[in-house]
């Protein structure tokens, strides 16, 4: 906790720091995002910055790449003081960043996205070759001629990384790069990062809230909390519980927190009650095939059942048919064959509103895609799915709308200026709470949760997981679609795996062998 000591300089580092931040301060209104932060980055080393959402990590990095101007403090690059007032300056200084939120154009192909923003003559074959080279070099392979809109989140992340590395930056910032990657993909990414860093002398920043990956992949660690640096140390000297304590500011005990931080090993014992058999499934897919233009992998002859009161975890690497499955259960695409049965009734998939009417609630993978309307108010977003509850004879009862919104805001702890605040003014975690509040308030028979904790901070994940468990305990059939094994193992009562559009395996939680699950996710037959 020695914030006045100079940045950690390992014995093996004698060079001038590649980046030296001194006393960086930034406020947004009443929120102090950075409070006199010092940070040194060295060539040939990976520097982990740990902190919960809102700790100031991203602001600090946005200052470094010129997206945000600091209120005070100085930036030195290779020992020379620099004023970085825009991203172009940062790029000229050799600083590149892979953002947590994608900045890709869906309608363009991978190589077009990579070349986007370049000036001068465009040479498509050169760009394609470069993508191939980067793929070989870093082990992040992407097909250059695929439309980005057809890629899964995991693959889009790769495109972002390739886009950044194409400029051959000296200083690379990764903002939560693994939030959409599988454990294997993450390990692979970090391994290639390590090689590149040591071989080519780049300085790398890894922003994360996952302890295990920071411990595994970095040389130095800086922990931030509420805009301040609370700890900096050499990774060799760090331990997971101590880091967790520094990050959260108290002892970490909750299971979900530990799972979220990666402190928990996925083999931990589990105490869910096995689901009782013999009753009717709330959701049943019978030999269903479906495809969506947004994913190249289609659902192929999928059968699965989810019973009231249980959580079925559907594990799988991103882009193996999770998208069409979620779209199917959101009435967005029809089934090309087979049938979907909800509470004993066959539902016509693809007919607008059919699934909702049948009692299927959905927390979509991308809330901006089919979860919320950013231009509407919080109250409207909370009422979207069931406007009948807040209207009479087709006329919206404003007071009823407001009252219902206030109740839900209160119950689900949504932080906003009030029911009439525009949805876009909320942070991601609070937007997700709005989705959760609305979907659970419908009293659904089935709840489909696709990557529900994506991009949420520890507190929010904990809360969401509790809510999912409570929903299941209350008799809702929960289908949890996720690529994060920790999440699946922590929550699910039964586990199935989706691979290339097929659902393989179906195990009670207690019988699951992590090894076997990993193999199935990679395509081995059970």
């Amino acid at each position: 906790m020695s914030s006045d000591s100079p940045g950690l300089v390992g014995a093996d580092v004698v060079s001038v720091p590649a980046v030296e931040l001194r006393g960086i301060a930034k406020r947004f209104g009443s929120v102090v995002a950075c409070d006199r932060v010092d940070l040194s980055l060295h060539r040939g080393r990976i520097h982990g910055i740990l902190g919960e959402n809102g700790a100031g990590k991203s602001t600090l990095m946005n200052i470094l790449i010129g997206l945000v101007l600091p209120d005070g403090g100085s930036v030195c690059i290779d020992g020379k003081p620099q004023l970085i007032h825009d991203p172009i300056t940062a790029a000229r200084l050799g600083i590149g960043m892979v953002h947590q939120h994608f900045s890709l154009v869906d309608a363009l192909t991978v190589w077009e996205n990579v070349a986007l923003g370049e000036s001068g003559r465009l040479d498509p074959s050169e760009v394609r070759n470069r993508i191939g080279e980067i793929g070989d070099h870093f082990g992040i392979v992407v097909e250059p001629d695929v439309r980005v809109g057809d890629l899964s989140a995991g693959l889009r992340q790769r495109v972002e990384i390739v886009k950044c590395l194409r400029h051959d930056p000296n200083i690379v910032i990764f903002d939560e790069p693994t939030s959409v990657l599988t454990p294997d993909e993450s390990a692979q990414l970090f391994q290639s990062l390590r090689e590149v860093v040591t071989a080519e002398g780049r300085a790398v920043v890894l922003i994360s809230h996952k302890l295990d990956e920071v411990l595994a992949a970095t040389d130095d660690i800086t922990v931030m909390r509420q805009g301040r640096v609370v700890e900096r140390l050499n990774t060799k000297l760090a331990s997971a519980p101590a880091l967790a304590r520094a990050m959260v500011g108290r002892e970490v005990s909750l299971r979900a927190e530990r799972a979220a931080l990666g402190v928990l090993s996925v083999g931990d014992t589990h105490d869910h009650v096995a689901h009782s058999t013999g009753e009717l499934p709330a959701l049943e897919l019978r030999h269903v095939s479906a495809s969506t233009g947004r994913s190249s992998v289609a659902l192929d002859d999928v059968s699965l059942s989810v019973f009231p009161g249980e959580i079925l975890g559907l594990a799988g690497v991103e882009g193996n048919g999770q998208r069409p499955l979620a779209d199917l259960l959101s009435s967005l695409v029809p089934a090309t064959s087979g049938e979907v049965v909800v509470a004993g009734e066959v539902v016509v998939a693809g007919r607008p509103g059919a699934m909702t009417r049948a009692g299927v609630a959905v927390i979509p993978e991308d809330r901006h895609d089919s979860g919320i309307v950013l231009d509407m108010t919080v109250a409207e977003n909370l009422a979207l799915v069931d406007l009948a509850q807040v209207s009479r004879n087709g006329i919206v009862d404003i007071r009823q709308l407001e009252r219902r919104a206030l109740d839900l805001i209160d119950e689900f702890g949504v932080q906003c200026e009030g029911p009439h605040a525009p949805m876009w003014s909320l942070s991601g975690g609070n937007q997700q709470r709005v989705v959760l509040a609305r979907e659970l308030s419908l009293d659904p028979a089935v709840l489909v949760a696709a990557r529900p904790t994506r991009g949420l901070d520890v507190g929010a994940i904990d809360y969401l997981n509790d809510r999912l468990r409570a929903a299941a305990a209350g008799g809702v059939a929960v289908l949890l679609i996720s690529s994060e094994l920790e999440e699946i193992l922590d929550l699910a009562d039964r586990i199935a795996v989706i691979y290339r559009g097929h659902v393989v395996g179906d195990f009670p939680r207690s019988d699951v062998d992590v090894q076997q699950l990993g193999l199935l996710m990679g395509g081995a037959t059970p």
């Binding site: 930034k26 947004f28 209104g29 929120v31 995002a33 959402n53 809102g54 700790a55 100031g56 991203s58 602001t59 946005n62 997206l67 945000v68 959101s330 009435s331 967005l332 607008p352 509103g353 059919a354 699934m355 909702t356 009417r357 959905v362 895609d369 089919s370 979860g371 919320i372 309307v373 950013l374 231009d375 509407m376 409207e380 979207l384 799915v385 069931d386 406007l387 009948a388 209207s391 087709g394 006329i395 919206v396 404003i398 876009w424 003014s425 942070s427 991601g428």
Partner: protein, 361 residues
């Protein structure tokens, strides 16, 4: 929020001032003096005898077109064929109005209803192509304007369709019969001005549209469809139903605007007859009204009045020696001036919300 209101007012003031100064410069460059031209505009639109009544009469169909456009764009659909829908709607009104020919005041209602129906049919063609075949409505609605012009011109050549009998058309060709005096919308006389009742109709409909968009389930669902079609579909808003309905309503308002010009427009608009070119650009201007109003009904009322004043005032500008069509350029400047502040605020908001989300707050 107060600071933001200040920013809005400052931005609008600056950009409208710039537009006015540019207009003044243009007048000077084209050989006139800005002050007399401005005086002529004001005289011609509101100050001269009977002028503000006329301005209100011109504003009514502009506002009606704008209201329909607001409904379509609320659902995320870009209808830009109001000019054609207006013309076709009027033709349908004329065809059925003269054939049904009920007692006077009742026949006015028949004319208005058939005008709306005709406009809806014309927009509906584009609507069905959009919702059932995926043809972009931007293209179809625009192209149908030309088609409407040809269809109506053809109808005005056939006595079996729209052409007036030889006896009542004098030496003119391609002209419909004139509406009888009791088939016209009544006019209210206030302080020596004649205010067409169409203006009141337009304002009442504006209130209804504002209510429908903001306070009804239908309006919320249209909004949802416009802003996020995927969630709309999930919760049961069918694009085929709601999208088509939005275009039908948009066309109906344009057709109604045409019927209002026919039954209540007087000598401002072809003197109670249908002629080729009857629509007279009101469809286009109504589109601009909706464009600058940006889905806000109250703003559309104001914009319609301003554009109508420019149009009405332009008649007086000729007397100053300056080409009266200069008002169209002024109108163009004003449209830009009214569109730039929202764009600026949008960019600023986006930058701010990015900064805020970067801070995790």
């Amino acid at each position: 929020m107060k600071a933001r209101a200040g920013e809005w007012i400052a931005l609008y003031t600056i950009s409208v001032l710039v537009a006015l100064v540019l207009s003044g410069v243009l007048v000077e460059v084209s050989g006139g003096d800005w002050w007399p031209v401005l005086e002529a505009l004001v005289d011609g639109s509101v100050r001269g005898p009977q002028r503000w009544g006329q301005t209100l009469g011109i504003a009514a169909p502009m506002l009606l077109v704008g209201l329909g456009t607001i409904v379509s764009s609320r659902a995320g659909l870009v209808n830009i064929g109001q000019e054609g829908q207006l013309l076709f709607g009027t033709a349908v009104a004329v065809y059925f109005g003269f054939r049904i020919g009920g007692p006077g005041p009742l026949n006015v209602l028949v004319l208005l209803a058939f005008g709306a129906l005709g406009g809806a049919v014309w927009a509906g063609i584009a609507g069905v192509l959009r919702t059932h075949r995926g043809v972009p409505e931007v293209l179809t609605t625009l192209l149908m304007v030309t088609v409407a012009g040809q269809v109506v011109a053809y109808g005005l050549k056939k006595q079996s369709l729209l052409l007036a009998p030889a006896a009542s058309r004098g030496n003119r060709n391609q002209v419909s019969e004139q509406l009888a005096a009791d088939n016209r919308l009544p006019v209210l006389r206030v302080f020596g001005n004649e205010i067409p009742s169409a203006t009141f109709l337009a304002v009442i409909l504006a209130i209804l549209v504002a209510f429908a968009m903001g306070r009804t389930v239908w309006g919320v669902r249209l909004h949802m469809l416009g802003r996020n079609p995927r969630i709309a579909r999930r919760v049961g808003v069918s694009e085929q139903k709601y999208g088509l309905a939005a275009l039908l309503v948009g066309g109906a308002f344009a057709g109604l605007a045409g019927a209002v010009m026919l039954t209540g427009g007087g000598f401002q608009f072809s003197n109670y007859r249908l002629v080729p070119g009857f629509s007279a650009g009101i469809g286009w201007t109504g589109l601009l009204v909706a464009l600058v109003a940006r889905e806000k009904v109250l703003a559309a009322v104001g914009a319609a009045f301003v554009f109508a004043a420019l149009r009405n005032g332009s008649g007086f500008v000729n007397s100053t020696g300056v080409e009266s069509r200069i008002t169209e350029v002024v109108q163009g400047f004003l449209v830009l001036a009214l569109l730039i502040p929202p764009a600026v605020m949008f960019l600023r908001d986006r930058r701010r919300s990015r900064a805020a989300s970067a801070a995790g707050v």
